[in-house]
Structure formats: C-alpha cells, structure tokens
Symmetry: C2
Subunit: 259 residues, 2 copies
C-alpha cells in the first residue's frame, strides 16, 4: 500500500505500470509437498523462493486440507521462515475473508481435497481468492490438494471423498484440471484397481470434462500471466480428450493450456 | 406371485412363513470383479451360484458404472449364463423403475462409483432398490463400485470423482461403509500419496463417518438377514473410529456390524 502511494506521488505512468504488474496472474502449482527422501517442500524450495521473490514478506497459509491446523501451520511456518517469509495461518485470523483480502501471497497446503474445497466454501473465500489472484495479482502457491483446488474442478483429485462439498467446481485460476501425484502403471502389480491413466480416461468419457495436466511427483507448473512453464525434475503427462496422452519435460512451455 | 397364491389357498401359516422368507435381506458384496490371473467374476462364481441358488432364473444387471453399457452387459451376460442365469440389463429395459420392481435378483457391476451413484439417482431407483432388497428380499450382488453403493455412503470409494452426484449417501443396505480393493501399504514404495489406511483414517477424522470394512481383493461379505459372514480367500481389515484396525479371516462372523 505504501509502495503504491509512493508511486502515486511520483508520476502517473508508474502507477499504471504498477497496476498492470499487480494484476498479473502468478501461480506455482506443485504436485507434492514432500518428495521421497527429502523434507517438507525441500524439493521445491528454490522454486518457491524464486517465485515469491523479495517483495513478499508474509504468506497466508491455508491449512484446511488437514484437521490438525495448528500442527500443520507450525510445519509450514518453519519451512517458510527458513526461506525468509513470515507465515500467517488463516485459522489463526479473526476473519478468513479479511485474511485473504489482506494477503501478500497465499499458500494452500496438501491433504484431503474434498475437505479443503468444502472448507473454502464454508469460509466463503473461493471467490475472494479468485479475485485476489486473478485481479490483484496476489501470488498463489498450491501443493497437492492446494493445486487441485486452484484448477477448474476437483474432478481429478486422487483423494477419498470423505466429505461432500457443495460442488466440485474449484477456484478456477486455470481453465484445465491437474492430477497431482501422477503415477505410471506398475506392470508388475497384481492389484486390479484402475490405473491412474485409466481414471483420467474415465473422466474424459464424461460429457463435461476438461484437459488434464498430470504432474508426477517432483514436478510443478509455474504460471506467470499467460505463460505456463513446467518446473521440477520429472515429466508431466498431458491428457486432452480424444487425443493420445503426451509427455512434457521440465522447462516445457504449456502456455496454450491457458487459452 | 403364483407361488404366494398357492400358499394362500393352502394355509395361512405358510403364507406368513413365506412372507418372512421373502423379506430376508440377502447381499453378496464383492471387493473386485476380476482377481489377478483369473477371468471376470471367476474367483467368486461359486459364491454367486450358491448365493442365487436355483430359485432365481433371471438377474437384473445394472451397468451404469461404465459408459459402454452394451459391452458391459455382454460380459456380464456371458458369465451369468455360464452359471445358469439369464441376464436382463437395465439399460435395455423401457423403464428402469419397472425393471427393478420386476427383478428376481440384482447385480450391480463395478466401474466408477460416482458415475454409478449419480445414474442411480438420475434414474430414480435408489429407494426402489432399497425397498426391493430390504422389504421384498430380492438378492443383491454388488462388485467393487456396486458394493460401494450398497453401503451407507460412497465416502470410502477409491474412485476418481469424475461426476458430481446429488449426495454421497448410497442405497444403505448395510449401516456401515466398505472400502473395496483394499490394499496394504507398500513399504518399498517411493510414492508419497496417502496409503489406503491413511485415507480411511482421514474419513474417521470427520464428524460424520461410520465403520469401514476394508475388503482386500479376493474377499467378499455375505449378508443373510442379520448375519454377516466373510467369504473368499483373503482377509478383511476393519476400521472402527477410535480403535486400532483389526484383521478378519474368511469365515469370520461380522454380524455385529449390522446392528
């Protein structure tokens, strides 16, 4: 706010430039919070730091995907503080809507996607987050369930439907679906449950569906306005209805998915 | 109907006995349609035949969990005909409600549980199936998704939520939940998605939840009125909120779950 005021006193051109910058959609959608063999958010900590940069001082954490919100906030706080950011957990704030409206940056943690989405609706912050991110340019980081709810719908979550949300429509920060924790079929498995690929194909059998970007563990999607880039160390698999799935390396430009 | 009329002409005691028999809840809830290395319903075909017996001639098949209903009906028909039963698929009938009302026995096949439950509601046959099974004693066989929808809710399905049903409440033929295709955690896995046990524990973290009977592949539950017995070749794992999970062998009496 002070920054804006300073610019206002400076000159008008700068204000307009600043407003454009502030309105840029900025997302970091991470497949998984913890990669096998490393600590919480360790595999993506450089990406987070690069994404948030030095303009952000405080991150609003949304721990609704787990029931132990205090414990979860402590874990997130420890990690983000090690990267130089203070954490305010939304459950510690007097008013969730105000907390989102005042946030410099938002991080939505993983856990159960159904519980998370239902709570976002219960707290009436789905549209508030959407406005803050798409109109005000507040950076959004999601991990696992926090990535699911950032997309068009939660139709491609892997989670168990332990509670009934009022809709599967999610925040809609991107116009497609993501499947986090994507896992390839194990040819040696004797288990007869559907493979992940089969499940996504079943989603595409339905009339109402959308493109699914499947992020393997270790993979994430960086969105800067209308540019989408794969980051991380693993490939993503893209499912477009009626087409064969395609593989995409880290660094790949997937901006066409944003149209 | 003729059978009842004959009895009526015979004597009143027989009618009452017959009505009691007809009203007996009879369920065969199978974990999985296909066991690794064997054919469709092959691992449970003896259980099916013993369950349906010789009084049943025709089985009403409900293929709503898959989109290719014709293909699915052909597979089910081939199998059931090999066991001596004719199959009418509900999607070939002019009226779904009439089909359920006229059914001698019902078999609900596996596939996607969300699609199945939504279609059961769309076709307005949830309460009709419930009445037929609980009041009229029509035998019900469910496999995988067909087992999920027979229970209290679909909160413990493993399936992807590809469509949004009007509720997660299911037919309610038993007062608990089942998790089919139950799989133990793989200690060697490097995948960081939640284990099945963790997912069921998350369900039990919620205020509204119920006991979960986890049926490993190869396992099934036979319910005859108020008696519930495990069948098959694998153990089941029972999750009661606030208690440690317990293991149960084939042949175990789980009738207490029906109370």
């Amino acid at each position: 706010m002070i920054y804006l005021l300073t610019l206002f006193l400076d000159n008008k051109v700068d204000i307009l430039y600043c407003e454009t910058t502030m309105g840029t959609r900025r997302l970091l959608l991470i497949s998984n919070s913890t990669l096998h063999g490393s600590g919480y958010l360790e595999h993506c900590q450089d990406n987070i730091k690069s994404f948030l940069g030095s303009d952000v001082n405080r991150v609003l954490f949304i721990p609704y995907a787990l029931t132990d919100r205090d414990g979860y906030a402590a874990i997130a706080r420890k990690k983000f503080e090690s990267l130089g950011y203070k954490v305010d957990s939304i459950h510690e704030q007097p008013n969730a809507v105000d907390a989102v409206n005042n946030a410099q940056a938002i991080f939505v943690g993983g856990g159960n996607t159904f519980r998370l989405l239902k709570t976002l609706y219960d707290q009436q912050i789905v549209s508030v987050i959407k406005k803050r991110v798409l109109e005000d340019g507040v950076p959004y980081i999601g991990s696992s369930a926090g990535t699911n709810v950032a997309t068009k719908t939660i139709n491609t979550t892997n989670d168990m439907p332990i509670v009934y949300p009022p809709t599967f429509d999610a925040i809609g920060l991107v116009p497609f679906n993501i499947n986090p924790h994507y896992i390839d079929a194990d040819a040696n498995s004797k288990h007869m449950g559907e493979t992940r690929e089969k499940r996504i194909q079943e989603f595409h059998e339905e009339e109402i569906c959308s493109t699914v970007l499947a992020l393997r563990e270790g993979c994430m999607l960086l969105v800067e306005d209308n540019k989408a880039t794969l980051q991380g160390v693993t490939k993503a698999r893209l499912f477009i209805k009626g087409q064969s799935p395609t593989e995409h390396d880290p660094g790949a430009d997937l901006s066409h998915l944003l149209k």
